[in-house]
Symmetry: C2
Subunit: 287 residues, 2 copies
């Protein structure tokens, strides 16, 4: 039976530390503030926004929601995003994506100033992740994976980390972050020959493929650390969600595993706040 790598313990410890940081920044007359840009009112976005606000509150940070109608046109939205970007009170920006189809998302993403881009929406931030420039913020989810591994003292240096999935949002950035920790990093995907065997070689397996319960018993080995990034509708339980890992099959075999829900997802809004606080420090010469 595997040790359960609960996200809550990680989130609680991080929030404790961030609360102290925010208090110290406030003592200098500055309050870190997150700007949330939302177009329309999709339930998923509102759910995540609720979590982000709650986390901001719990660490003493400010936030402001900039909400726009779902049919906003390109010119108006460009102007709006530029204004949020230029707003001196806002230290970090979360913009929900995908944007509605009438908007040129690639162009709009890159209107976010890189120094406020706390969820890696811009090409400038992606470049910094790729080139190991610590002034660039990775997306929140891969950072959450790394924070979980760090909290639970999972050794990475020299170890075999296997990343299942090669998306720009999780797979590639988490591979870059694992390399920074001197792991040996394998990126595998749906086209990989003998995929289960490749995954089973990992000391640390990061499942970020976006397919419900794809990682079965033959993908893992005893002692392995499994970080499950997936958030999928559970085919067996309508209305519930599940990870990329078949927890019931895998948990009895591996050494340690993050649950879904209650794993990586519990840490991402805390990372959002952490990165906004870092951005605030950098913008104010406090870092």
């Amino acid at each position: 039976m595997a040790e359960r790598l609960a996200g809550k313990a990680v989130a609680d410890a991080m929030k404790e530390e961030l609360s102290q940081k925010v208090a110290a920044i406030k003592a200098k007359g500055i309050t870190p503030k997150l700007g949330i840009i939302r177009v329309g009112a999709r339930p998923d976005d509102l759910f995540y926004e609720g979590g982000a606000k709650k986390t901001c509150d719990s660490v003493g940070m400010a936030y402001q929601v900039f909400e726009y109608p779902a049919d906003i046109d390109q010119a108006a939205f460009e102007q709006a995003v530029t204004a949020v970007g230029a707003n001196k009170e806002i230290n970090g920006i979360l913009m929900f994506a995908p944007l509605p189809k009438q908007l040129d998302e690639k162009k709009i993403r890159n209107l976010i100033p890189v120094e406020k881009d706390v969820d890696c929406m811009t090409i400038g931030s992606a470049a910094k992740v790729y080139t190991d420039d610590p002034t660039g913020f990775p997306p929140c989810t891969p950072t959450a994976c790394m924070d979980i591994l760090k909290f639970y003292n999972i050794p990475l240096k020299g170890k075999k980390a296997v990343v299942l999935g090669r998306s720009q949002v999780v797979g590639k950035p988490v591979a870059m972050l694992l390399l920074r920790e001197h792991a040996t990093v394998t990126i595998c995907h749906s086209r990989t020959d003998n995929l289960p065997a490749v995954c089973a070689e990992a000391d640390v397996l990061i499942a970020a493929v976006g397919r419900a319960k794809m990682v079965k018993a033959n993908y893992v080995k005893p002692g392995q650390i499994v970080i499950d990034v997936g958030i999928n509708e559970d085919p067996a339980n309508p209305g519930k969600y599940c990870g990329d890992v078949d927890y019931a099959e895998v948990e009895p075999i591996v050494g340690k595993i993050t649950p879904v829900p209650g794993g990586v997802g519990s840490v991402t809004t805390v990372v959002l706040c952490k990165q906004t606080i870092q951005a605030c420090e950098m913008q104010n010469g406090l870092a």
Copy 2:
């Protein structure tokens, strides 16, 4: 005994194809032109420059060398690089690095317009390589590795590619290019546990670690494809150079191997010309 993956055959075939492309572009009244920016006159730079000029000549392209004194100051050199970047005749720019110590290299690299950055000197090009944007040029050496693999019909889809070395110039970009071809990609390095065993699992091993003859018999397996990117002074033969692979030890074991010299290095200036021609096509709406 391994098949020798000679660079010359690859270079010859590419030059043939590029000559035809250049002729077609010239028929439209345009001549692709490479701008070479050199500070001082280091022997290594002059050697590579000589090869680049020869390749330009052989495919019918133009080139122009912009040479500056080794003690040029920051302001003057910024102005010079900006001017070459703005020069409408120049389609691609090769700038030799490292620059002398009095110059802020990071700042100067990023003065090269991304659309002319045919050797990936800018953060903008790096971002495009990382995010799979085909309008960005990877550095010439990783592209040369891919061109060699393609010329010799080495299958990559689903296969295990192991990249030894994680530099921004070769290791990381070649990993990104291998992923584009749907290989399963492992990046390993000096901190990797059991490094020889990790390398020996590869179907395709890319040695880009910069240490003379580091890859020994225990790093490889029968049937393996070995691409040796290293160019090191040969400790056993002063004045000669050698690869990252101990050719004498490895060649009898593996399936196919690039020699050093005569392998990857023979293809890089052809890639430089290929990418400049592509840049010319994009700049003129011919692509």
